[in-house]
């Protein structure tokens, strides 16, 4: 079976006991209705301790899963066991039409990894698939109702625009207050101060900006004490840039306008992005260059998958898939692993530097690859120059991907730095939480790699060395 291997199951498992528990369920006699739609979807019912069996679904293309059991582990042992049976290939999955409960899951499923699109794709095998079954029932259209809904949407949009502008005015007032008081001591009261203005921005329906403000104290506290006052100037300066750009968005280029609206909190649905004309769409073989799982102050976990297109050519070579899951849901990592290859087409959100994307179509699901990622031959200074160019284009740029060759890790005191292998031209500090895990790389004379730079420190995602691949866990 393509897509899910035993190694991948192991990587997906939240802990060792889950794997052990799943192993006990890897036998067909505890299951009923083990089926597949032959288009990447498998499901079955597992008799657990409850009166009715748990319903388990797994999408092989992106290792998506759903189980009706009450477990707080994700994936639960039932999902892992279903994947396991499929990966081992010892159990027969009957070809069947997708039942209603599976269709229901697919309907409600919305991820950047594009699972619905996978089922919807035109060149899918001619079998009954859930999404196709859903598409087969066109909704009845009521023209007057549509008109009323459109008018209501437009009214809501205008009200929101007005609320945001009012919120930005309050933000400016707050910024002036901070600058008047002096930013040398901002870090000392940043938590409380930022929380209050972030709340105001939430009320003003600018959630993107609110999240940025909310995350600011942690960002500043993460820096050495001596760097905090300067960081306060930089970060608060960016807030004003965003506010000013938003007010003047009509004079901005379309892409930059999309950037600032997204930064403030306007979102674009998957369907809207896919149906939009003129979006940047790039197909090819994509390798996972890094993954990131981070809890945001709003109690959502942000799961990022950074992809690298191996073949040079038109369009962006780096793409970020971003998913959000509630922290309470328990999922701590995404479904992709660094090094995997996905063949397919990505559609990028409009931006003057397109990076964030969705999977539009998967032609071959994620497969583990041992080969090195062809990250190109840019050295670190060159990669950093690209960051500076991007910063000049999007002044409020937060995180930028760096792919580089001929780089080494060096140590000064407790801190590690990414440096060009053959010069002292540049030294990018590594985030302190990686100091321990990355220190074996100090022994490498040079390596190629992929990192995320946030203006203060690098998060190294991948290093390709003579000893093999180093991956940030």
């Amino acid at each position: 079976m393509a897509g899910i291997s035993l190694e991948k199951i192991e990587a997906l498992a939240p802990d060792q006991p889950s794997l052990v528990a799943a192993r006990k369920l890897v036998k067909p006699n505890g299951w009923s209705g083990l089926s597949s739609d032959n288009a990447g979807l498998i499901w079955g019912e597992c008799q657990g301790s409850g009166s009715s069996p748990y319903r388990v679904i797994v999408s092989e293309a992106d290792a998506g899963y759903k189980c009706t059991c009450p477990s707080r582990k994700f994936p639960c042992k039932h999902s892992l066991a279903l994947m396991w049976m499929r990966a081992e290939g010892k159990v027969t999955f009957e070809a069947a039409a997708t039942p209603e409960w599976v269709q229901d899951w697919l309907r409600r499923r919305r991820t950047s990894s594009g699972a619905p699109a996978e089922s919807e794709k035109d060149n899918a095998p001619r079998t009954k698939s859930l999404a196709r079954a859903v598409l087969a029932k066109p909704d009845e259209v009521d023209p007057k109702g549509e008109e009323r809904a459109a008018a209501a949407r437009e009214r809501a949009r205008r009200e929101r625009e007005a609320a945001i502008v009012a919120g930005l005015d309050d933000l400016d007032t707050w910024l002036v207050d901070q600058a008047e008081a002096g930013l040398a001591g901002f870090a000392a009261h940043a938590g409380k101060s930022c929380r209050s203005i972030a709340q105001r921005l939430v009320d003003a329906k600018a959630p993107g900006l609110a999240s940025r403000v909310d995350a600011l104290p942690n960002r500043i506290y993460g820096l050495p004490e001596s760097a905090r006052p300067m960081a306060a100037v930089e970060q608060l300066g960016q807030l004003h840039l965003i506010a000013e750009a938003y007010r003047r968005q009509d004079s901005l280029a379309l892409d930059l306008r999309a950037d600032v609206r997204r930064e403030v909190g306007w979102t674009q649905s998957r369907e809207a992005l896919l149906s939009e004309e003129g979006t940047v769409t790039v197909g090819g073989s994509w390798r996972v260059a890094g993954t990131l799982s981070e809890v945001q102050p709003d109690k959502l976990r942000r799961l990022e998958t950074w992809l690298w297109r191996e073949e040079p050519g038109e369009g962006p070579r780096i793409a970020a898939l971003v998913d959000f899951v509630p922290v309470a849901a328990g999922q701590t990592k995404g479904t992709y692993r660094t090094g995997e290859q996905i063949d397919g087409t990505l559609v990028f959100y409009p931006s003057s530097r397109p990076v964030r994307a969705l999977i539009k179509e998967v032609t071959s699901p994620a497969q583990e690859r041992d080969s090195e990622l062809a990250l190109g031959d840019h050295n670190l200074p060159r990669a950093y120059s690209e960051y500076e160019e991007a910063l000049a284009t999007i002044p409020w740029l937060n995180v930028w991907p760096l792919s580089f060759a001929d780089t080494r890790l060096r140590r000064n005191g407790e801190r590690l730095f990414l440096c060009p292998a053959d010069s002292d031209e540049l030294a990018l500090p590594l985030i302190s939480s990686q100091s321990e895990a990355a220190s074996p790389l100090l022994a490498m004379e040079k390596f190629s790699g992929f990192a995320l730079w946030d203006g203060y420190a690098c998060r190294l995602c991948l290093a390709q060395t003579p000893l093999g691949r180093w991956v940030s866990e």
């Binding site: 600058a179 002096g182 970060q235 300066g237 002044p395």
Partner: protein, 470 residues
């Protein structure tokens, strides 16, 4: 206003507070003070963002060692991490011993994730692992990280204890005087634990030439060292001499005659009145620490075999004899004693390992053979005793003993699928399992629930894979 001016004129104002500033500089950015201030903030902030991070004036020089050992293959790295995640120390030890035997080393990228394992077993895992453990140690306290087979009389003091003991013991076999000289030279700088272990090497090829050195250290501050010195000097002199410890022991041994027709001597050890039951083993160990079997037999006016026969009805005295026989490597006597006292090693496991002198592989196997009597265990030996055994023998049991273990009641009880509990027992048995019996153990474990057998099974699989590497 250019970047330099922004930083020179506006940055100090933004940091200290614009409230205190007249605002002349600000007004260059616009007519309205508030807007000028916001503009100053964003322009200055943005100019700072284009400042490249400062390059440190110097970087540490990395001196990672050359490691001749072969790296564990990639396909085993993840299983190994899984195995060591929440495994018992027995599993970790078995894996470390496997690495050592096969001259393997962990992948350097795994060292941070295996930190606990590496810290504990660095001397089994090669030079890179030792470097990893020592990288935080201040330079003045830093010893080297040499493999045992790389040690020479010039560098041997820089290595960790285990390779040093091994080196000294090997040298002692080849050139006793040279080994003793090295020991004399380093003696003053060693801590008590090291002194105990290093001194144990003198027992190999003990001769009259060692007497002067032993006499020079017989007033050592560490009681354990003094006890070993006393034992060695006694062995050299070949006579009991004045031994206060022996006298104290004899005062506690009651001697009676049993049976009506054929009078037999019976010996019984009287524990001190204030010794509680759970303290008995420790008390016996301390009481008999400076006494050897020959002295005791001489004092009892019996042969050593007769002493054992005479003590057959007194478990405490038998245990004392077992301790002495084990310490003196009198394995034939130990074998006789454990026939009468099959749980002797269970009782030994409750003691510290102070008497765990360096033994070579053959000695260890013979010692284990004399000590372990699986068929006779009554009551069943608890898990900690097995773990202690693995620590002592640092490797698998011989196939003969393991077969007996697998036929024992203790093992049978563990294999009951209904039995509740953790996987500790299975793990230690897998750690003790010799290569040729792994298949049989796997088959026996088959009936257990996955969570009880999983770790043990995984250990066997990994050891198999490591041993089959080409």
């Amino acid at each position: 206003m250019n970047t330099e001016e922004l930083r020179a004129k506006l940055l100090p104002m933004l940091l200290s507070g614009a409230r205190r500033d007249s605002g002349d500089e600000l007004l260059k950015l616009g007519s309205d003070r508030e807007h000028s201030l916001l503009r100053a903030l964003s322009l200055t902030g943005q100019s700072l963002r284009f400042t490249r991070p400062a390059v440190p004036s110097e970087f540490a020089v990395e001196r990672w060692p050359r490691d001749e050992r072969r790296m564990v293959p990639d396909r085993l790295r993840r299983p190994m991490l899984r195995l060591l995640d929440r495994s018992t120390d027995d599993t970790a030890r078995a894996l470390a011993l496997g690495f050592d035997k096969l001259r393997l080393r962990p992948h350097p990228f795994d060292l941070p994730m295996l930190d606990g394992f590496v810290q504990r077993y660095a001397d089994r895992l090669g030079a890179t692992a030792q470097f990893w453990v020592l990288r935080q140690v201040p330079a003045q306290r830093l010893h080297g990280y040499f493999e045992a087979d790389e040690l020479t009389p010039e560098n041997w003091t820089e290595s960790s204890l285990r390779p040093r003991v091994k080196f000294l013991k090997e040298l002692r076999k080849r050139d006793g005087a040279a080994a003793r000289k090295l020991l004399e030279q380093c003696w003053a700088g060693e801590n008590p634990d090291n002194r105990v272990q290093l001194l144990s090497t003198i027992q190999t090829g003990l001769s009259a030439e060692d007497r002067a050195f032993l006499e020079s250290i017989q007033k050592d501050r560490a009681p354990r060292v003094r006890a070993i010195v006393h034992r060695l000097l006694t062995a050299l002199s070949g006579e009991a001499g004045e031994n206060a410890a022996l006298t104290a022991c004899m005062n506690r041994i009651q001697r009676t005659k049993t049976e009506l027709l054929k009078k037999r001597t019976a010996l019984k050890l009287e524990l001190a009145a204030n010794v509680k039951e759970h303290e008995a083993n420790r008390w016996i160990q301390e009481q008999f620490a400076d006494v050897n079997l020959e002295q005791l037999a001489h004092a009892c006016e019996l042969s050593d075999r007769e002493v054992i026969d005479a003590a057959e009805k007194d478990d405490n005295l038998l245990f004392a004899l077992a301790l002495m026989a084990s310490r003196e490597k009198s394995l034939d006597l130990l074998d006789v004693i454990t026939d009468e006292l099959p749980d002797a090693w269970g009782r030994m496991s409750e003691l510290s390992s102070e008497d765990n002198l360096e033994k070579d592989r053959e000695e260890i196997e013979a010692w284990a053979g004399a000590l372990i009597k699986p068929r006779k265990w009554l009551p069943v030996v608890p898990f900690p005793a097995w773990s202690w055994l693995h620590r002592q023998i640092e490797g698998p049991l011989s196939a003969g003993i393991m077969r007996d273990v697998m036929a024992s009641k203790a093992w049978e009880e563990q294999l009951d699928p209904e039995k509740k509990g953790g996987s500790e027992f299975v793990q230690v048995m897998c750690a003790l399992c010799p290569q040729e019996l792994r298949g049989m153990v796997r088959a026996q474990l088959e009936r257990l629930e996955a969570d009880r057998k999983d770790k043990g099974w995984m250990l066997l699989d990994i050891l198999d894979e490591l041993e089959n590497l080409r």
